[in-house]
Amino acid sequence: MPELHTKDINPAELPKQITDFVKGIASQYPNSKAMLIPTLIEAQKYYGHVTDEVAMAIGKLLKVPYGEVEAVIDFYTMILQKPTGEYIVGLCDTWNCEWGGAAALKEHFIAKYGKGVGEITADGKFTLLMVECLCDCHNPPSLQFLQRGEHFTPTWSNNLTVELFDAILDDLAAGKADALRERFVRMEKKQNAPDDRNWVWLVTTRNQYPCVLEGSGDAMKVIDGFGKFGDLKNDNPALHAEIAAAAKEL
């Protein structure tokens, strides 16, 4: 994790990632103030959150008075002023997701770690943040894991149940490489299938896929599907095994 600046910094001492970012986009804008929000976001990706010192340095770099930088930081909810855990768990609780069970996930998180929204769990791994509609309302409840590092790495995890959420948190805390892999949630028969084949909806932690199943028992296989379903067919053997197991029950 990059070192945090807690003293005044000369803008020239800002990390190369930030200064290069500004150089890269400067030609697109008629003045430097327009780059303020993207640059603050870039700084946040680098540091994890934006301290006063970093904000001041960015203000100097872009020739924006510090008061205006503060006003912007205050206004935009995505710019964080406090440190977070390694993963930010951004959980949506707007209507569709509330209806889909977001409150149960939130309660579970708080009960599991004894930490409320915005706090860092004792192991330093997680911070839960409640966010407004992520525009993923067809997969409620929807949440986004953001992994801190030199960049924020986002991973969507939708359609979650409390059990799956719990398993994902444990796997992440244990440092399992595939903790955020796409997981199987449930399978439903597809209404209004386009042809006579065995169309089902596969609901996973990423998405909901219409697809065609063939065979029976252990030999049950996904043989066709829409577009991106290709990923599912080819790149995800673990998921495929989960599906074959679930298909037996359908």
Binding site: N31, A34, I37, F75, E132, C135, Q191, F226, G227
Partner: protein, 468 residues
Amino acid sequence: MAKGNPILMNGIRHECITPVSALDNEIGIRSLADYESKARYVPDGKPGGYRAIQHVLNNMSPEQVIDEVKASGLRGKGGAGFPTGLKWSFVPKDHPGPKYLAINGDEGEPGTFKDRYIMEDCPHRLIEGAMIAMHAIGAEQTYCYIRGEFYDSLRLLDDAVKECYAKGYLGDNVFGTGKRMHFQVHTGAGAYICGEETSMLSSIEGSRGHPKMKPPFPAIEGVFRKPTIINNVESIACAPAIIDAGAGWFTARGTEKSPGIKIVSVSGCVRNPGWWEIEYGTPIGVIVNELAGGLLPGRKLKGLIPGGSSCPVIKGEAAYDVPFDYEGCVAGGSMLGSAAMIVLDDSIDMVGVMRNFSKFYAHESCGKCTPCREGTRWMLQIHQRILDGGGTMEDLDLLIDIINGIEAKSFCPLGDAAAWPVRSAVERFPEDYIAWIEKSSRFNALKENGNGSASPAGSEEAAEVEAS
């Protein structure tokens, strides 16, 4: 309406009930090479990406492009449905300085999920559309403002832009014509209000996302005080198809006043929520029952919001007969908005829905004007009080009173957007509110005390809510 083949697009629920794939049928286009090689639907069958813009650059004047878009009847897909061609024609032609195109990718209206799939899966269609628009309005720079939470959209669109720069499709000499066209992906930072067009401009300028006074309208004085056209991602992404296939292709679909096609996103109590491209005028019943798989077994439709959380709720199964176009939705008692259909079945309590919506608007109100800043919070407090068992019958009048104070008295349309759904819920579903209130201790205490005067306990509670 004939049910054609489902269109295999994007892997996510893209089915189309029209016999043609609506805009085109790219399957998960991610790279320029893919886009150039894959067939895009046009009636005369000549495929190929970036064909429309080359045709425009070589053969069409800006006026001709604007006329073609006007003739297609394309209406803005961001909410208001303003004719896009007409909007483009507002830019002063003889303006000496720079002009800008600002694309609105700040998708944030609860229930909407369409722009992100265009940006992630067919970014080149958006870039090509932006180039056509820049040619039409005489701009050399596009800003595409994308909400900060869409890390994937930001990265994938940015990658696509870099590919275009590398190939000379964007830059100081596009396609060797000597024209300058630049495209910059600009990130937001988590504010719904930045979807409002003038707030978006404030945000691009590096300020708080506060709306600006109109007039001057952005087409005259927009970002950096220069003429600016603001369009939704989906509106811009329609442009290549209109140029390729001609305005007639567009007007052949949909209704007379709402021609063409629209992506509708369906969420809530349906079996298969998802998004589809449909013709305007398709009855809502067809969308809910045929595309989204209908309601869960044994449930009945209680209410339906056709255009995202900012629109009034249509009551009951009458909603199924409403044609899904701008005029039809208004006649049905609501609005088409961003075409984000939220389906509510009879297991849903309207008070809970409105508490959640009010929470959203109270959180997202920018705070610039008092009716919206205070009113949205009061609406939230009253809903919370009713749900906590402290409601009285007067709360219904109080809600309407607050709504009257917000509606048409706020600085920007966010205030109206917060008020409309709550008004429709109070007026069309009063029984849900009354059911809560009749169970409330305050209501029953008042009833015992005779008519009207609040018990001391009641007023204390009210004072607490006021103070909180």
